[in-house]
């Protein structure tokens, strides 16, 4: 099949970018990124700069890849990262517009490559369970209801790709943040830090310049791992509770006189 590609080209973070048009030949068994590989091989051979795009595992789990195809993050197929998208999802003669994730918190580094360091900083602020390595009790010491473990896993499946932010008209990161909060809040091990975590992660999310959720639901539609907006509801509940209790901790948690 023959395709026309309009691709965002931008030399670096400081330069202005623009769309450049290319033509591509593809075979329907190819993955989308393999189609771009072939375009790039041709560009290199002609002495031109290949199109920079992030990718790594190419099996939809590392979360490295991702750009917008015709206005949809990761392209037209639901629950599919762009590396798992195959050319059979397109028709001969299609024109495809490719652009990077657009969000103030994700500056473009080059072409389709963006900086998602903001996500790491949100995790560093509170997206963890502080359990010193070496001091863990037996793994079966605390049984966990299967339903809770399953729900926790549903949220933990997030790959941190950033499609939710790219899809959101407000460039909000709430699906990402709520997925991590939900994953940890469903587990008994996640309880002691639950309220602190809610406050810290939300504060960092705001500091990074992400927007706020206004219930468009685009994030859920774009999410390649089908993370549900229900977690945003749970996050809001935790955040409200955490805010109402302020910085105060429960009585007795300040330690003894020893």
């Amino acid at each position: 099949m023959k395709l026309t590609l309009r691709i965002w080209r931008q030399k670096d973070a400081k330069s202005k970018g623009a769309f450049v048009t290319y033509t591509a030949e593809a075979d329907e068994e190819m993955s989308f990124l393999e189609m771009l590989d072939v375009v790039n091989e041709g560009l290199i051979q002609r002495g031109e700069e290949p199109i920079a795009f992030d990718h790594d595992c190419r099996e939809g789990i590392c979360g490295t890849c991702g750009f917008v195809i015709n206005g949809r993050a990761h392209g037209p197929r639901e629950r599919t990262t762009v590396c798992q998208l195959h050319m059979r999802s397109f028709q001969d003669g299609d024109t495809l517009t490719l652009e990077p994730w657009r969000a103030d918190a994700f500056p473009v580094l080059k072409d389709l490559v963006v900086d998602r360091g903001a996500f790491d900083r949100i995790i560093a602020a509170g997206g963890f369970i502080a359990s010193a390595i070496g001091g863990a009790p037996d793994a079966n010491a605390i049984p966990i209801r299967k339903e809770n473990a399953d729900l926790s896993m549903d949220a933990a499946a997030c790959i941190g790709c950033g499609a939710c932010v790219a899809a959101c008209p407000n460039a909000a990161a709430m699906l990402f943040v709520s997925a991590k909060m939900g994953h940890l809040a469903m587990l008994p091990q996640g309880q002691p830090e639950r309220m602190d975590r809610a406050r810290a992660m939300v504060a960092q999310m705001d500091a990074e310049g992400f927007g706020t959720c206004t219930n468009h639901g685009e994030c859920e539609a774009a999410c390649p791992k089908a993370i549900r907006m229900e977690f945003i509801g749970r996050m809001n509940a935790d955040y409200v509770k955490a805010s109402l209790t302020g910085g105060r901790r429960a009585a007795g948690s300040e330690g003894g006189s020893g």
Binding site: D27, E29, M30, E34, D37, V38, E41, L43, I44, Q45, G47, E48, E49, A52, D54, D56, C57, R58, E59, G60, I61, C62, G63, T64, R77, Q84, H86, L109, K110, V113, D115, R116, D120, I123, A124, G127, F128, I129, A130, S131, I133, G134, A136, P137, D138, A139, N140, P143, I144, R145, K146, A149, S152, M153, A156, A157, G160, H183, L187, Q189
Partner: protein, 637 residues
């Protein structure tokens, strides 16, 4: 040079305890005075960096990905082994140890494997404490499944995303330390050179992959946890960025490379479809719990799978290995698949494929149960092939998946270069000539969480570390080597892309140093690779400059190293004139086609030491002694 494995004395079950007691400790207040570099942020890297930071060391952690959460440990699907015996089915530390030594076809170091089996128990506890949502039963306790090479259920899992969940646990522990200022993280930085001062590893030179800046980072010790080198085959289940550069630089600075020819070809991957193919995708071994592998009995049978009646199918693993059946170890299952395809009984458009069929399991357990266990894998398969594995059997074929070889390390995970530690898949130590399923995650986290935090202290406490000046001649020389190499790659401006060289190398390696090897083929490959490498340095084209984000430059540097490593692999495969585990020399097989070891001549680790450009490296030997598992013919029948 003599390889000193530094295995502690005493009975095997006491070695690690005794060693931990005998190690020198660094006083808690002094730990902050030491800086440790960690290259890589997978299970071993992130786990080790977090654990050392928790102890109080200053850690600098580097990864080529845009975030430490993306290291390729994330792609492991099936599970992680641990000798918990939660199911009362006869498991024990000794049994896990025994299975791993046997699975590795008696080419692993006993003491290391035993320690791994011991810490496996702590790993699961630690992961649960960090919030890993392992699969659970209705009673709330942890669920298990079986993996190849074992007759007990000891594999813990989180749906088909176990590696992802374990890595996120380690990554979150790492991010916590980053937030606390104990770890300084350098994503999108690639190690290009190792800095040795007075013979000790004291730093690394890295390239900032966004700005192209060449930077030196100095420290008191360097840990490499940079994963395996299986992308030497071009088509592999590895992430596209996985490479050998860090360990190859260390090799060229004097660290011996052990058993480079021990590479695992995983039996269950989605077959190749075309020339443009960029990678192969694994379908977890856990699928062999419920999937049955078969091909038609007749050659060239082109009927659709469901039109072939049961009696005309050959469930060859069940037939050949009745006691392990579809759960035979990976090397054995891969070779069996190759054999039936070479006989002309392979399926699919290319004839290089076998069926992995869930029909019976769906009938027995219902589609819902299968979906719960393997849903994401089935979906991934459908995305790639456009076929629904609930209705038609999957087609699978072996692919490069893991490398048992790696930098040689002693019991402390230290190479022969003082202060250079090597963790996880990057070292050679625990899996011998074949790794069992669900053991890579175990080793990565074992090395990172539970071994390096002890052994690093023992090293730091015993040595003195005079400050190294930023303009030390060794630092300057390493920086210059990096800049010169980049310049050289950019100045060739030839006609072929780095990918085309990589693909050509991969074909040579797959053909002659893949699932089956022989003298003739290996000699042929050894004749071809130097020529290909020479052409690369004359005719590769790398657009752009070194002072920017340049993915072509990154790739070219990695391919250049694969072109050298490939030759070493073939040399190692040639000199190891026996078959063992994954290393199958056609000249050495039993009457039934099983690998035939030669313990008299090859019951050892072969570690290659670099001797200079264009010279044959020295083959050093570490004899392997089996005191606890009887050296025997491996049988899974």
């Amino acid at each position: 040079m003599e390889l000193k494995p530094n295995i502690p004395d005493g009975p095997i079950e006491k070695k690690w305890d005794r060693h931990r007691f005998e190690m020198k400790l660094v006083n808690p207040a002094n730990k902050r005075k030491y800086t440790v570099i960690m290259v890589g942020s997978g299970l071993a890297g992130a786990g080790g960096a977090a654990a050392m930071a928790e102890l109080g060391y200053k850690v600098k952690c580097f990864c080529y990905q845009d975030s430490p959460r993306r290291a390729h440990s994330i792609a492991a699907q099936g599970g992680i082994n641990a000798a918990k015996n939660y199911h009362n089915d006869g498991d024990s530390v000794f049994r896990l140890f025994y299975d791993t030594v046997k699975g590795g076809d008696f080419r692993a170091r006993e003491a290391n494997v035993y320690r791994l089996a011991q810490v496996s128990v702590n790993i699961i506890d630690q992961c649960v404490a960090l919030g890993v949502p392992f699969a659970r039963e209705y009673g709330g306790l942890l669920d298990n499944r079986s993996f190849g090479g074992a007759q007990v259920s000891r594999t813990f899992y989180a749906r088909g995303q176990t590696g992802q969940q374990l890595l996120l646990g380690a990554y979150q522990a790492l991010e916590r330390q980053i937030g606390l200022g104990q770890v300084e993280m350098f994503p999108r930085h690639e190690m290009q050179e190792l800095v040795l001062v007075d013979g000790k590893a004291r730093g690394i030179v890295v390239r900032d992959m966004v700005t192209g800046e060449v930077e030196t980072h100095l420290a008191d010790a360097v840990c490499l946890a940079t994963g395996g080198y299986g992308n030497v085959f071009y088509l592999a289940t590895y992430a596209k960025g996985c490479n050998t550069t860090a360990i190859w630089r260390a090799y060229k600075k004097g660290a011996p490379f052990a058993n480079p020819c021990f590479t695992q070809i995983h039996p269950t991957c989605i077959p190749v479809t075309g020339e443009y193919q960029s990678k192969l995708t694994l379908m977890s071994e856990s699928l062999r719990n419920d999937g049955r592998i078969w091909v038609p009995k007749a050659k060239g049978d082109k009927r659709a799978a469901n039109e072939i009646p049961k009696e005309e199918r050959d469930y060859y693993l069940e037939r050949m290995y009745p006691s392990f059946g579809n759960l035979a170890p990976r090397d054995i299952a891969s070779r069996a698949a190759k054999r039936v395809c070479d006989e002309g009984r392979g399926v699919g458009p290319t004839g290089f494929g076998v069926y992995l069929d869930f029909h019976d399991a769906i009938e027995r357990l219902g589609q819902k149960k299968i979906e719960e266990k393997y849903g994401n894998l089935f979906e991934m398969y459908e995305r790639i092939t456009d076929e629904d594995p609930y209705k038609v059997p999957m087609r699978i074929y072996p692919a490069s998946h893991y490398t048992m070889g790696g930098l040689w390390v002693d019991y402390n995970l230290m190479s022969t270069i003082p202060g250079l530690f090597v963790l996880g898949e990057a070292n050679f130590s625990d899996h011998g000539a074949n790794r069992l399923g669900a053991s890579a995650l175990m080793q990565g986290l074992g090395d990172g969480y539970f071994i390096i935090p002890y052994t690093i202290g023992n090293y730091l406490a015993r040595e003195k570390f005079p400050a190294v000046a930023a303009d030390h001649p060794e630092v300057r020389a390493a920086e210059k080597a990096v800049s010169d190499r980049t310049e050289r790659l950019l100045s060739i401006r030839g006609k072929r892309t780095a990918t085309s060289f990589h693909r050509e190398l991969g074909k040579i390696m797959w053909e002659h140093c893949g699932m089956a090897r022989d003298r003739k083929g290996l000699e042929h490959a050894l004749g071809k690779i130097p020529g290909l490498r020479e052409e690369f340095w004359k005719n590769v084209t790398v657009p752009g400059s070194g002072r920017e984000l340049n993915q072509s430059l990154e790739l070219a540097g990695r391919v250049a190293d694969f072109l050298e490593l490939g030759e070493l692999m073939c040399l190692d495969a040639l000199e190891r004139d026996e078959s063992c585990g994954s290393h199958f020399r056609l000249e050495h097989q039993m009457a039934d086609g099983e690998a035939k070891r030669n313990d008299e001549k090859f019951c050892h680790v072969a570690a290659w030491q670099y001797t200079g450009e264009g010279r044959k490296p020295d083959r050093l030997v570490e004899p392997l002694v089996y005191e606890n598992v009887e050296l025997a013919v491996r049988s899974y029948k």
